[in-house]
Amino acid sequence: MKPFEFHRAINSDDVFKHISTTSKYIAGGTNLLDLMKKHIHEPNTIIDLNSALSNTIEQKNDGIFLGAMTTNTKVTENTIVNKNFPLVSKAILAGASPQIRNMATTSGNLLQRTRCPYFYDTNIPCNKRKSNSGCGALNGHQRMAGIVGTSQNCVAVHPSDFCVALAALDAEVFITKTDSTTEKIPFKDFHRLPENNPEKDNNLSDNAIITGVFIPNNNFGNTVSYVKIRERDSYAFALVSVAAALEIKDDKIKKVRLASGGVAHKPWRWFEAEKFLKNKKASRDNFIKAAELIVSKTKPLPNNTFKVTLLKGAVETALMQCLTNTSNG
């Protein structure tokens, strides 16, 4: 690592005091320190946010607010989260290891960098690491690359499981800027597609920090599921994952959410499939049709067409699991 100044921010005014173009915020550090050891990030200043931002979970009338510094474990152990937002716990528990979940935070999860192997290999060009240097993955190994929303400049995917659940549940990202103004960004607009500037993962401006994530109430109950397919049973990033949530009334799907990880530069929502399933019967036939509609929207790369088949199965499985989870719950 390159030497750096270290500042512990102690309150919300303090967090902007030492910022510069070469400063970085640290929360859990599980991604940043790794990147610093590999000289992918070389900040001159590190600002520790742990004492400055909220690490509490607050139940509101219309939903739940997860403070930026709540650890993944704390979220999964929260009784309100488990009762009203079980999809969130399912997704978090599908990711990382217990040690990492004890360290990693809510805001850090949103801001973690891709795990594309070419992003991590400093001997190989990567547009995300260095603008206009090229993309190693375009003609390389593509198991971890995207199948939807990719560009000629970048095929990397967002690695989070937690964010897939947050995208499915229409969460909002709470932001505070240097001028003390606050803002709410709908989750689907927080992360972005690579287009011509893949070095930017999301739409958070340089003069802003995440203070927390709000999840609105829903009527999905236990009719939710998170299916994750990966290279090994545990402690691996997703090849594809599917978050599904159903609200069924009078034998018809009243509301449905479908989102995926491991397929795009951002947690991906399948809006067309949601529209297709609305007001239809919650049957395997309809679930298969929805899965077919989803895969018809994908554009796999030459070396990751297998992910389309995985995705199709994962969508069907996730929707079927919603039905079994509801009867168990």
């Binding site: 690592m1 390159k2 030497p3 750096f4 100044e5 270290f6 512990r8 640290i26 550090g29 599980t30 320190l33 790794d34 050891k37 590999k38 001159n44 590190i46 520790d48 742990n50 474990t73 990382a96 290891s97 217990p98 040690q99 990492i100 004890n102 360290m103 049973d233 545990s234 402690y235």
Partner: protein
């Protein structure tokens, strides 16, 4: 080309060249050296040393450490607590697992500067004198290792796994121990050891 008959002695020319270079260097005005140092400081960040106080295995420590020091390096390099192992140093293997305020965490991905006032437990802090911790006994009993390099991390993770209550089945133990990799493949011994302590 006729080379000097004795290659080990320095030629007259070499002597004149080097001695003039040293003389020239000594004569460089101080202002130029200062200017060079200024440039160096602008382009190369100096290492930053921070005061750190923390508790390790019940003992208080007041230390000074480079801002870059990870908790793992602080334990191993600064304090000679080498029981905690450095495997991958990138948060992928779990060999460096310690408890921070009672929760298992990866010391290789923790900055020592962020441990201010925290209580750390390492493998050295488990036994009570010569009496091993029940989990250490269980690893011996069930052959929970082969080469032993991942063992301190496995045991720290295993103790936490039992405390968390994630031991209802072998499957659950496996899932909650997935952050600790064993290249020898002693997994059956490890899960059996944990199951025996959990009972």
């Amino acid at each position: 080309m006729s080379h000097s008959k004795n290659e080990n002695t320095f030629s007259r020319r070499f002597f004149i060249k080097t001695s003039s270079a040293f003389t020239a260097l000594a004569l460089v005005p101080h202002s130029i050296k200062a200017f060079y140092n200024d440039i160096k400081e602008t382009y190369f960040t100096k290492k930053v040393v921070l005061p750190i106080y923390l508790k390790i295995n019940g003992k208080d420590y007041n230390l000074n450490a480079d801002s870059r020091t990870t908790l793992l390096d602080l334990l191993r390099e600064n304090l000679n607590l080498t029981g905690t192992k450095k495997g991958c140093d990138h948060g992928q293997c779990g060999a460096c697992t310690v408890h921070i305020n009672g929760q298992r965490a990866l010391s290789c991905l923790s900055l020592a500067a962020m441990m201010q006032g925290k209580e750390i437990t390492t493998i050295e802090g488990l036994a009570n004198g010569d009496n091993l911790h029940p989990m250490q006994e269980a690893f011996l009993e069930h052959d929970g290792y082969q080469c032993g390099y991942c063992t301190p991390g496995q045991i720290m993770s295993a103790v936490a796994c039992v405390n968390e209550g994630h031991t209802k089945s072998i499957e659950e133990i496996k899932e909650y121990m997935s952050g600790n990799i064993c290249r020898c493949g002693a997994y059956n011994g490890i899960t059996n050891a944990i199951k025996s302590v959990a009972k």
